[in-house]
């Protein structure tokens, strides 16, 4: 069995997780991530409660003043899942960084400790080593997201008047699912640069630059035609358009690579905040980007482990 107790794949995956947990950088980022998850739920709940309280006070005041026809509660049409709204931005920022660290450390750890040749000289060999790296980093990322899911789900149990229905739990799971797909791309990016760049600092800096480009620069350029889209997602049809051809050209060229924007659109849909921006193509695009990055990692790891230069 490929995942039996003595299988090399299981051994490598187990080692990846153990080694990662022992490292300070990962543990610190994980702690921050879980804390912001809790914090974001609190902020979401607090905002909702404040709005409801203000509405109730206003209704009471108006009723006291003899006004009988009051506008309906504005939160009635808003899903309870909207309290997780802030998680989207945390995923985009801290989550992507954590994903890069997971991928980056996975290979750099082996190179720094000089064990790559040793590992490849074991009977398990190169295919298991590469598969173990990809599965190990994937499971590490999945564990982080499961932890967040547990924290966010559990927190709703302790908040008064906040109950998620079965459907809402499914939607929340789908949100974490799409977050996993989005973050997998960054894990692979961290691993890829870790393999290609012999300089450890540069190998971490470059995926961070790529992350800045994907999360900040590309959306800015590709939504320049539709300047309010990032702040307040609205469909293009309703948004004011920028003048000139620069932004429309930039949008045409760069929007296919603007994964951050795609992720936000999908996350807003799964958290039932805004479904107007939903596009199933974006989901396939995120998955394709992740798979392409994984394929690049397989190629890089294979090439690295077979390269004569590193053996000399």
């Amino acid at each position: 069995m490929i995942l039996s107790e003595t299988s090399p794949l299981r051994t490598i995956i187990g080692h990846e997780l153990r080694a990662l947990v022992r490292e300070g950088t990962f543990s610190a980022l994980l702690g921050i991530f879980l804390a912001v998850t809790l914090f974001s739920v609190f902020i979401g709940w607090s905002t909702r409660s404040t709005t409801l309280a203000i509405y109730a006070t206003t209704v009471a005041t108006l009723n006291g003043a003899g006004v009988s026809h009051v506008a309906p509660n504005p939160l009635l049409g808003v899903s309870t899942l909207a309290i997780f709204n802030n998680l989207i931005i945390y995923m985009l920022l801290v989550g992507a960084l954590l994903a890069i660290v997971i991928g980056h450390r996975s290979f750099v750890r082996d190179r720094r400790s000089g064990v790559i040749q040793l590992l490849l000289s074991r009977p398990a060999g190169r295919p298991f080593y590469i598969a173990g790296k990809l599965c190990g980093t994937g499971i590490a990322l999945l564990s982080v997201l499961l932890g967040m899911f547990a924290v966010s789900s559990a927190s709703t149990l302790f908040i008064p008047s906040l109950h998620l229905s079965g459907g809402e739990f499914l939607s929340l799971s789908a949100f974490y699912g799409v977050s996993f797909i989005y973050l997998s791309f960054f894990t692979a990016l961290g691993l890829l640069f870790g393999v290609y760049m012999p300089n450890e600092s540069m190998s971490l800096l470059l995926p961070i630059i790529a992350w800045i480009a994907i999360v900040f620069i590309l959306p800015e350029l590709s939504t320049g035609q539709n300047p309010v889209a990032l702040l307040n997602p609205v469909t293009l049809a309703h948004a004011p358009q920028a003048l000139g051809t620069f932004f429309s050209s930039a949008r045409a060229i760069l929007s296919p690579f603007s994964f951050g924007q795609d992720y936000v659109a999908l996350a807003l849909h799964f958290l039932r905040i805004n479904s107007e921006t939903f596009n199933i193509g974006a989901l396939f695009k995120l998955a394709a980007a992740g798979l392409a990055a994984d394929a690049a990692c397989v190629f890089a790891l294979w090439k690295y482990s077979a390269a004569a230069d590193q053996i000399l």
């Binding site: 003595t6 090399p8 051994t11 490598i12 080692h15 153990r18 080694a19 022992r22 490292e23 750890r109 720094r112 400790s113 000089g114 064990v115 040749q117 040793l118 590992l119 490849l120 000289s121 074991r122 009977p123 398990a124 060999g125 004569a308 230069d309 053996i311 000399l312």
Partner: protein, 252 residues
Amino acid sequence: MESKQPKVNPFAIEVRGVTHAYNGHKVLHDLNLSIPKGEIFGFLGHNGAGKTTTISILTTLLRQTAGTVRIAGYDTLEESMDVRKRIGYLPENVTFYNDLTAYENLAYFARLSGIKHVDAKIDETLTFLDFEGVKHKKLKTFSKGMRQRIGIAQAILHDPSVLFLDEPTSGLDPMGIKNLRDIILRLNRERGMTIFMNTHLLSEVGKTCTSIGVLSMGKLIYMDTMERTLNRFPDEASLEGIYVRMETAEMS
């Protein structure tokens, strides 16, 4: 570990006409070596002579451009899995995982080597190396000599018949060198292990090895038993003098 009938072969290592080139540049020229079982073989040569390339080929990490290599009777290209099960390897400058304990490091390599009773095997190996007390200490607290001992432990955990050591004394203090020498001699004497050692330290070769080979610019310029080597150059007081004479003769 998969049980396959061991091949009957008097040689632990057989290298026939091995040539290796990187980007058209030849780094090994028609290398031939026959190392009988139970030898401690010292492979000498200056930096860049091709020693590490040779050890990489012998340990199945690198495919030679031409020629054949058999380890314990198994071909390194056709039967690389069988070779890997029968070799132990300690590359140069391995530091292992600092944040893991000695046990965790060894268990990782033991499992990758297909060992079933990992705990018992680690205990047995650490006892053999007189290193029992450190099992649960993190490697970041270890000295270079202690790390090297962990390196030897991971290389012998699965009872290999051939052990490859690449510059094992590199960076060790005199006490560390002496400890390592004792371990190598015990492995050879008590476990019958054939040991192939790349090294610069000629004084250690003289004290440890039963035969030597000298590689210069990718060519094997000398190979014989230690005893015959010392008898052949009676006017040289040390192995260092012999080595310098060989290299100088080759260069000229």
